[in-house]
């Protein structure tokens, strides 16, 4: 190993440490038998028990799950349709419209959605407004993933299905959908993770009544950082990690099957 190699490895190690040590501390202290996040006293599951007895926290978790499920469902549906349309019709304007919310600063999106709901739609803020808001910024992610998958595919496959006797609907159901399914699922999981921990947009579009998880956590640490926050953060982390792993696996496996040697035929 050369000198520059050692430097590179050290730098990489430093970056990963910077990223993951804070997370590790949160996980570690969620099992700490002390009210203070200062020194390690002993192992306990107390904070997890406390968490599951905290009704407000449970309501927040339930609300966030409902929002994440609804938003990822509608974003997946609309995003898949957008991805298919962008690919098939080689559209110029729609991609810009669909992908912009992905790059837009969240605060801008939050403010504009708030104004839109209140002043244009005259909507009472609540679960519905949050679901709509989350759907808006997730559509772009789904569309990008679905389109990327279609880009790598042999266009003749879809014509071959029609040619061999499948109607447009049968072609979609038997050929297109199974082929883009990994991307659709990946998009759904991605949307779910984006939605469940979103703070900024949720903050702008939430009503007064219902607690939402990320905001509930924020409110809790404003008072005092209790290990209960560590516990809920650990659970959230675990959920996100699982989702992302599944999404990545699906994409990789599907690509291995459908993309590789066929394209060499050209």
């Amino acid at each position: 190993m050369g000198r520059s190699n050692i430097w590179l490895w050290s730098l990489a190690a430093l970056i990963y440490a910077f990223l993951y040590i804070p997370l590790a501390i949160v996980v570690l202290y969620s099992f700490n038998d002390s009210r203070l996040n200062a020194e390690w006293v002993g192992f306990t599951l107390f904070w997890y028990k406390a968490l599951f007895n905290n009704t407000e926290m449970l309501t927040a978790a339930r609300n966030s799950l409902i929002i994440a499920l609804s938003a990822s469902f509608s974003a997946t549906l609309l995003g898949t349709m957008a991805g298919l349309a962008i690919h098939r019709y080689k559209l110029k304007v729609l991609p810009v419209l669909v992908f912009t919310p992905v790059a837009m600063p969240e605060i801008l999106l939050g403010v504009s959605l708030l104004l839109f709901f209140l002043q244009v739609l005259n909507l009472t803020l609540g679960m519905v407004s949050i679901i709509i808001a989350h759907t808006t910024f997730c559509i772009g992610f789904v569309a990008i993933i679905v389109r990327a998958r279609l880009e790598g595919m042999d266009e003749n496959i879809f014509e071959a299905a029609r040619d061999l006797g499948a109607s447009p609907w049968q072609t979609f159901r038997l050929v297109t959908l199974p082929l883009i399914m990994p991307a659709v699922v990946a998009g759904a999981l991605m949307s779910f993770t984006l939605s469940i921990d979103d703070f900024v947009i949720t903050f702008f579009t939430k009503g007064v009544g219902e607690p939402i998880l990320p905001i509930q956590i924020y409110t809790m640490i404003k008072v005092a950082v209790t290990p209960e926050v560590n516990a809920i953060s650990t659970l959230l982390m675990l959920l996100t990690l699982i989702m992302i792993t599944i999404a990545a696996r699906l994409e990789a496996r599907a690509s291995a099957r459908t993309m590789s040697p066929d394209k060499a035929g050209k």
């Binding site: 003749n156 496959i157 014509e159 071959a160 029609r162 040619d163 049968q170 038997l174 066929d262 035929g265």
Partner: protein, 361 residues
């Protein structure tokens, strides 16, 4: 009656005409080839037969019924694509079963016919594999099996051998001929490879810039090209500017610029005074030592300019006294003999009175 009748079909795109008033009729059981350089309209024509594209004017009749307005899935026509277009998420057996399922065949019948189809392309034990586990040639065979399993009235083949290497390609050509003979399905084959077209087809339509230049049997296309494009596109040919000085019913006397009088043949209707070219295939040209007694009517001295040794034959490029080049093909049938002449050798070239073809400008 013709199985497929293309009548005055035209297809325009925004800035050019891809298919220009084309009429072709294909008989049942025929192996028919659309041959031409890329951009000649052959693929557009094929897509219109399959139903992926519609003509701006004209008719496409199958068994006498106009197909325009019938979507691709309702046409008794299947296509084998250059990219094979196998469904990557289905096994080989499911791929082949697809058209049968779409046609609503019973499960038992599907099973039997998929088995037969695999047998016919010599892949009986490959049913459970996925396309990405197959070699190029195996994918190609599966694509044939899938296209043929539901016995279409017509099988369209869009450069299906284009992605294969030369040796495998020749093997597949032979298999394709046998498959077509065995099943009696009518083939419409698209290719830009003239050797492939000559080897496979019963008849060939040579296309260029959206029009059909000539429709004929392979041997006639090769020996009697109707114009300079066909002559040049199919096989090798040498051409020299010429003018007709005497048009007899059996032969033509041509004045080849700065060379002299050449006897040749031409199509009916060629008149004295017509200008054009004298075209001659390399294998028709004899090359001999200058000292040899000339035995053929058309005999001229020249100098070996270059030669191309390709193993079985050597092509000599001979410069004639008028500065024109003529190619002569010599088989290397004597073992160990690769070259009969060297560059710079003074030689004689000659050809039969009916070997040269006069083509009008």
């Amino acid at each position: 009656m013709a199985l497929l009748e293309i009548r005055n079909v035209t297809r325009r795109f925004s800035n050019y005409t891809a298919v220009d008033n084309v009429s072709i009729s294909v008989k049942a059981g025929e192996f028919f080839t659309l041959l031409g350089p890329s951009g000649c309209g052959k693929t557009t024509l094929l897509r219109m037969i399959a139903g992926f594209d519609l003509p701006d004017s004209g008719q496409i009749l199958l068994d006498g019924n106009d197909m325009v307005g019938t979507p691709p899935e309702k046409r008794p026509v299947h296509t084998v694509f250059q990219t094979y277009a196998l469904f990557p998420h289905m096994t080989v057996a499911d791929n082949i079963a697809f058209p049968l399922k779409m046609a609503g065949k019973a499960t038992q019948e599907i099973k039997t016919r998929v088995g037969e189809a695999l047998e016919s392309v010599r892949l009986p034990s490959f049913g459970n594999r996925f396309p990405h586990e197959l070699s190029g040639g195996q994918k190609q065979r599966v694509a044939f099996a899938r296209g043929l399993v539901n016995r279409p009235r017509l099988l369209l083949l869009d450069e299906p051998l284009g992605a294969l290497d030369a040796k495998l390609r020749e093997e597949m050509q032979i298999e394709l001929i046998n498959l077509q003979k065995e099943l009696g399905v009518t083939f419409v084959f698209v290719t830009h490879a003239q050797d492939e077209a000559l080897a496979l087809s019963h008849r060939i339509a040579v296309m260029n810039h959206g029009i059909v230049e000539q429709i004929d049997e392979p041997s006639r296309i090769y020996s009697f090209p109707r114009n300079r494009f066909v002559a040049d596109f199919i096989g090798k040919i040498s051409m020299m500017s010429a003018q007709v000085v005497e048009a007899a019913p059996s032969h033509l006397k041509l004045d080849v610029k700065e060379l002299g009088e050449v006897t040749a043949v031409g199509k009916a209707g060629v008149k004295t005074g017509d200008t054009g070219v004298m075209a001659i295939r390399p294998e028709q040209v004899r090359i001999s030592h200058l000292s040899d007694e000339p035995r053929l009517k058309n005999h001229f001295p020249g100098k070996v300019h270059d030669f191309l040794y390709v193993g079985d034959v050597t092509t000599y490029i001979v410069e004639l006294s008028n500065g024109a080049y003529i190619e002569a093909l010599l088989p290397n049938s004597a073992p160990g003999r690769a070259k009969f002449f060297e560059v710079g050798d003074q030689v004689g070239v000659s050809w039969r009175h009916d070997a040269g073809i006069f083509l009008n400008d």
